[in-house]
Amino acid sequence: MSVAILRKGEYFIASIQSDLSDTEVLALRDDLIERVGRFRALGIVVDVSALDVIDSFAARALRSIALAAKLRGARTVIVGIQPDVAVAIVQFRLNLDPLRTALDLDEALALLELRPERKPADGR
């Protein structure tokens, strides 16, 4: 599968390298959700900058990653949506709520660092 999933501290970074088939999208979703539970992750960053197209199926899959991850205690940020893709998503009225978006990895991690109230007590 052409998705690299890296772990950085309490976050997972999933970098999609090329267009994914529907099966691969679903596999990515299951994989990420499973890892969130296993490693007690607090956040997921999905890098879509290599994608030229985000269709309704992929949009729904991204949403469902966010919703499922939230149920397991992690927040999801999408980074690197290309200008053309952004325009297409808006024009086709694809619903990405409640997904959060950021320009790049730095921004995404900064966004996840916000609201640290969700951190477990082990930090103290």
């Binding site: 999408i78 980074v79 949506i81 290309q82 200008p83 893709v85 952004a86 325009v87 998503i89 808006v90 024009q91 990405l96 978006t101 950021a102 320009l103 790049d104 921004e107 995404a108 900064a110 660092e113 916000l114 640290p116 951190k119 930090g123 103290r124």
Partner: protein, 298 residues
């Protein structure tokens, strides 16, 4: 006439050349007279009304000489270059295509009529002279007309290009903050182009906040208002937040009347307020992201 003649031979084209030579000699001899006649016809026909009589006469002289040269050499390149240069000068003054075509056709008529008068006695010679003259004259007329139109199209293309480049600047005010002042009428073509530029600039400059100032936009319709909303939404998907400033009261009312949902837009009265709001958004987030602060808290 032509179809009765045999296929042109070398000899014949030599004969034609000598005819053309005679024609050119004739036009040179009567230069002063024909020129004045032409200029008078132009004035009578109320062509080139934006130019003074002196200007017309000096242009007429130059065109006449180039015209005769083109007849003599059979090469229209010099004339073409002159026509381009002339067009460039007169296009700015609002000379229309029909005027230019009218002038060239007038010259053709003036010369043709004068040839007719001159060779009246010898109908056969007249016919052969006209055979040589007409195709050359038509070719010249077409050249001048086409040169003018091409020049005009070039000017129009340049202007369109200039407008396209000037119309939607996206400026970086400071790190992560862009501002785009939109001026003039916005149609859906321009709105689309604006979206492209803005999103491209967001990516290139890693912008976090963009301020769209529409003080200079006189009116918007539903399509443009919707496009604005889409642009803001697309910017958000890329991770940048947009602030819209300078909605005139007229536009505000239009938008309310149209029922466009601007609820998700962040609008501020004027550019100053918009920049303050943008600073606040940037500063706010910077403060929160600051690692020292969060470590103090935890």
């Amino acid at each position: 006439m032509n179809q009765n003649q045999p296929v042109p031979s070398l000899q014949q084209s030599a004969a034609e050349a000598s005819l053309l030579h005679e024609l050119v000699e004739y036009l040179r001899e009567n230069r002063g007279d024909l020129r004045e006649q032409w200029a008078r016809r132009i004035t009578d026909a109320e062509l080139l009304s934006v130019m003074t009589a002196d200007e017309i006469f000096s242009e007429v002289t130059a065109v006449y000489d180039n015209y005769v040269d083109a007849l003599e050499t059979g090469s229209v390149e010099t004339l073409q270059a002159y026509a381009r240069e002339l067009s460039e000068r007169i296009i700015r003054r609002g000379v229309e295509t029909h005027e230019v075509l009218g002038i060239v056709l007038l010259l053709r008529d003036v010369l043709g009529r004068s040839l007719l008068d001159n060779y009246e006695e010898d109908r056969d010679l007249l016919r052969r002279i006209l055979d040589a003259y007409e195709p050359a004259a038509n070719r010249i007329a077409a050249t001048v007309g086409v040169s003018f139109v091409e020049e005009r199209e070039r000017v129009i293309r340049e202007q369109q290009e200039a407008i396209r480049e000037l119309s939607t600047p996206v400026l970086q005010v400071r790190d992560r903050l862009l501002i785009s002042p939109i001026i003039g009428a916005v149609d859906s073509d321009r709105a689309r182009q604006l979206t492209e530029q803005l999103l491209g600039a967001i990516q290139a400059n890693r912008a976090r906040v963009v301020v769209l100032d529409i003080t200079g936009v006189a009116s918007v319709d539903e399509a443009v208002a919707n496009h604005l909303v889409q642009t803001v939404e697309a910017a958000r998907l890329m991770g940048a937040r947009a602030v819209i400033t300078g909605l005139s009261s007229k536009i505000a009312q239009t938008i309310v009347d149209l029922g466009v949902d601007l609820g998700m837009l962040n609008t501020v009265g004027d550019l100053q307020g918009g920049l303050e709001e943008a600073e606040r958004m940037l500063g706010h987030r910077d403060a929160d992201v600051e690692p020292t602060e969060s470590s103090i808290e935890s």
